[in-house]
Symmetry: C2
């Protein structure tokens, strides 16, 4: 301990994050400062002002910490797709999943995104982890569409459009003007519309 | 040494593989037998009948060995897209890249595919590596299309269709009747056509 200024008291006042959020903030900052490989679980816990046991109650390891939240996204995407109205087209169902997943992304995510992106860019290990999570999001969306009776090829394609739209929308949202209170969903749906239009120009 | 029966003499007679191919065969078999984590570079080299130095002349580590070839694919995809006729549509350019990449996939790849798939399925580490390679193939195809003047959203979408088509075509080819001498390209182009048709049903 003894690094009081690093304990995110200011951030706590603004966001009132719990231990989980403090751990994510601490990990992202440490990885940005000294690199992913040099950052240990002990350092992350110390910086966040919690014990190592608390760390391990929230995350199995440091790698999982940095891609946490994607399991939540997966569940929300699937639920949104499954609960879309019966006659909804594949892309309309995907849009419903994207809106639901976007709803959990708030100011903390927007604030953290550039630092998280930098941490991932600097570590092949994190890039690999991230890539597999994205592949599994696409697979989960495909399965959810197939469960609605969408043929496999159409389901796979709609899911890829959904993943691309989420990635593009999220990038624009997190790089955009953070003083506005834009919600992520608007960016993601705009990206999905752009991709839907693009399908007409594939040749 | 002393495991003469494992040295793929039969395979050598059929395929005449060099050290590189023997190393891949040995690694896939060892990973299937005893798991990825338990398999060492020393064991792979011994099974292939080469020294560890020879291993390291071909691959930086065991993980790289199992996803080797994807760099070759990347280069061929890019070349095929870059060299497509000037007026070619985005998907026609992608098809040209896919045909060129498919041309290097022969009987050895087809034979190995199910075992390689099993080895990857059993290892999260390999799945992560594989996922990142696929993401980077999509990014490379996107860049190659943008370099042809294709707008970014259309390029990203065409590249995703290309990746999906290659994965689907490859799976069908490698699971299909290996007594026939079907070429991979036919499977991949059929999958691309199916996906192109599917774009009309996204809603």
């Amino acid at each position: 301990m003894g690094q009081k200024s690093h304990h995110y008291d200011g951030a706590m006042a603004r966001w009132e994050p719990g231990a989980r959020e403090r751990l994510v903030l601490a990990a992202v900052d440490l990885c940005t400062e000294q690199g992913y490989d040099a950052t240990t679980v002990a350092q992350i816990a110390e910086r966040a002002g919690v014990t190592k046991s608390t760390f391990f109650r929230h995350f199995p390891d440091k790698r999982e910490l940095l891609v946490a939240g994607q399991e939540t996204l997966r569940q929300l995407l699937i639920e949104g797709i499954a609960e879309a109205p019966e006659g909804a087209s594949p892309l309309t169902a995907v849009a419903a999943g994207l809106v639901r997943a976007s709803s959990v992304m708030g100011p903390v995510n927007r604030e953290l995104a550039p630092r998280l992106k930098a941490a991932v860019a600097a570590s092949t290990e994190l890039q690999e982890r991230d890539a597999l999570k994205i592949v599994s999001l696409a697979a989960a969306m495909t399965d959810a569409l197939v469960a609605r009776g969408v043929p496999q090829a159409i389901a796979a394609l709609a899911a890829e459009l959904g993943v691309l739209a989420f990635k593009r929308g999220f990038a624009e949202w997190s790089e955009g003007d953070r003083d506005t209170e834009d919600e992520l969903a608007g960016y993601v749906l705009a990206a999905l519309d752009e991709l839907r239009t693009a399908t007409a120009s594939l040749g």
